[in-house]
Amino acid sequence: MIPTTARTLSDDMSKRVLSLERLHVSFFTDAGELAVVRDVSLSVSAGETLALVGESGCGKSVTALATMGLLDHPGRIVAGDITLGDDVISGFSEPQMRKVRGARIGMIFQEPMTSLNPVFTIGRQLAEVLRLHRGHDDRAARLASLALLERVRIPAALERLRQYPHELSGGMKQRIMIAMAIACEPQLLIADEPTTALDVTIQAQILELLDELQKDLGMAVILITHNLGVVAQYAQRVAVMYAGEIVEQAPVTELFADPRHPYTQALLQSLPGTVDPGRQLNVIQGTVPTPREFPAGCRFATRCGEVLSRCASDVPPASRHGGNHVFSCWQRMESTS
């Protein structure tokens, strides 16, 4: 058993773009502090895609927003460091963070239909980022916007610049969002369920586009999703989150071939392909507890099929399985060691 943090995980420290180290995020409500993200460590390198998976409400988006410095009151980072390149951005002031957002970290969201401002033209919304971070004048911003639209494969780009979001389809809007996010060639792109709201055919196109842009720009990508099929196809590494914690982190092939944590195993078991057609699908009983009901020890203890007596009270430490495979589980740790 080796206590592990992100620092020991990455293969190539020099290429590392982002690392979260022991990040804790809490919401301070009238009812007290809710620890929605606990002890999250992860890192992602240039050109690499890290998939962040887990059920709804497990803290994926909060982790992403914390990275962007966009946590809304009453949410706050209570401990841990966020390092982007050589800068510890978790210590940045708001004006410093503004120079990071949109310039060094781009972010795209789940709902392209509502993520663009309905009263401004596409051209204006694109130009805004370029004017802000690149200091472009109107003409330069316009030319750069055109190039961006072509880059995200939007036909009739010149006409699109004059259009409003409601005149475009969902897939088209998501392309615009991507164009805005990569406008300043960020080191890191956070894609928060970028295809959940789109048709299946459009989903594939958008993911292909992201993949291609990543290769061109050499960005690090954090892909938040709950689609394990997407993970298998586009990510190199996976971090599985449950109830605000990363329970297991491994290279994709390894995670699918040899999942260690009971939650990861249950997730993979619940994929439709695991049972014969006509049979009932496997499910994980119960639901993710609300932050108020999180167990003191392992947060999966209330739904785990292999729970031990200490699980409910003691937090399982991260243990290593092979080179890059880390998980946190008392049961598995004891069976391996």
Binding site: L70, M97, R98, R101, G102, G106, L116, F120, T121, M177
Partner: protein
């Protein structure tokens, strides 16, 4: 678009005709009539009443009276029952008196409500938000006439300036400076009182509208771009939050006219509100009817303007 506007105007015209029927019927159905304004007057004999009724065509059937009203209105020969003066010039003159009041009140309402409401929304839950909420509800709850009297007392005692009427009686020969200051003082207090309820209500609307917009995904997108808080709030959020207020702006003038009925009475301001109030007391049908009809015209014109403005400010709306 031209076709849409034409159709819209025609619909409004039809609506106006219906409103004129209703207004006429309502005024005549209401208890009390011109011939009985002063029934206790011993010099008022039955034949006098009959004479008055005949003179004002009050014995004719309702539809005939309606036709007479409309005919005289369009001929410009409609005369007040009370003093025989032509109605339209009379209303116009009073309306011009009220206009400075309306303009000041509108300016006060819109320039105060927006900063107050936006600030409260941005700092939701703060002391500022709580206190403006409290003040707004207090101002909505306290009757306007009561508050007006308190303010009159305070202004007169604290500053020693008269605030009743449009200007101080007998000040015509005073210096220009004195008269301007005098007019200003006479204008400021009633304008404020006319605006109070508007500010309280509108700032609440602005706050809730802003709160809703601030929670939208596109505001998060704007922040994720690295824009500063002012650009996010005043450009991305406010522009969207403003949309519903286009409708309210069109209804502003009719609301002010109804508010002016009370405020002009309190401040003895010879405006259109006071004219209608006096006309109601005197059962001066031609004036009451015409003022009400004009209010309907202004309301319809205001909403027409709102419809057009909407299409201008919201790209999702097209007039067709």
């Amino acid at each position: 678009m031209g076709q849409y506007l034409l159709r819209n105007l025609l619909q409004r015209l039809v609506l106006l005709v219906i409103v004129s029927f209703l207004v006429h019927a309502l005024v005549h159905l209401a208890p009390g009539e011109p011939a009985e304004v002063d029934p206790n007057n011993p010099r008022f004999k039955a034949e006098d009443v009959a004479k008055i009724r005949a003179a004002f065509h009050l014995d004719e059937p309702l539809h005939v009276q309606y036709a007479l009203w409309i005919r005289d209105l369009f001929n410009g020969e409609l005369k007040s029952f009370k003093d025989g003066q032509p109605v339209l010039p009379k209303i116009w003159e009073r309306f011009l008196n009220s206009l400075p009041l309306f303009i000041c009140a509108t300016l006060i309402i819109w320039t105060l409500s927006f900063p107050t409401g936006i600030h409260a929304a941005v700092r939701r839950g703060s002391t500022y938000d709580r206190s403006t909420t409290f003040i707004a509800y207090a101002l909505i709850s306290v009757p306007g006439f009561f508050l007006s009297y308190l303010v009159i007392l305070w202004v007169v005692n604290a500053f020693g300036v008269p605030v009743i009427g449009m200007h101080t009686f007998g000040s015509e020969h005073a210096s220009v400076w004195f008269r301007s200051m005098d007019n200003l003082w006479h204008l400021v207090v009633p304008s404020l009182m006319l605006a109070v309820a508007g500010v309280a209500i509108l700032s609440r609307y602005v706050r809730s509208q802003m709160l809703e917009v601030i929670g939208q995904d596109y505001v998060r997108t704007a922040r994720a771009k690295g824009l500063d808080a002012d650009s996010v709030i005043y450009s991305h959020a406010l522009r969207n939050a403003l949309l519903p207020f286009v409708t309210m702006f069109g209804l502003m003038l009719p609301e002010l006219i109804s508010g002016a009925v009370i405020i002009e009475q309190i401040f003895a301001w010879p405006g259109i509100g006071r004219l209608s109030f006096d006309a109601i007391l005197a059962r001066d049908y031609p004036v009451v009817l015409t003022v009400t009809l004009m209010a309907a015209v202004i309301t319809l014109a205001g909403t027409f303007l709102s419809d057009i403005l909407y299409a201008v400010v919201d790209p999702r709306i097209r007039l067709n």
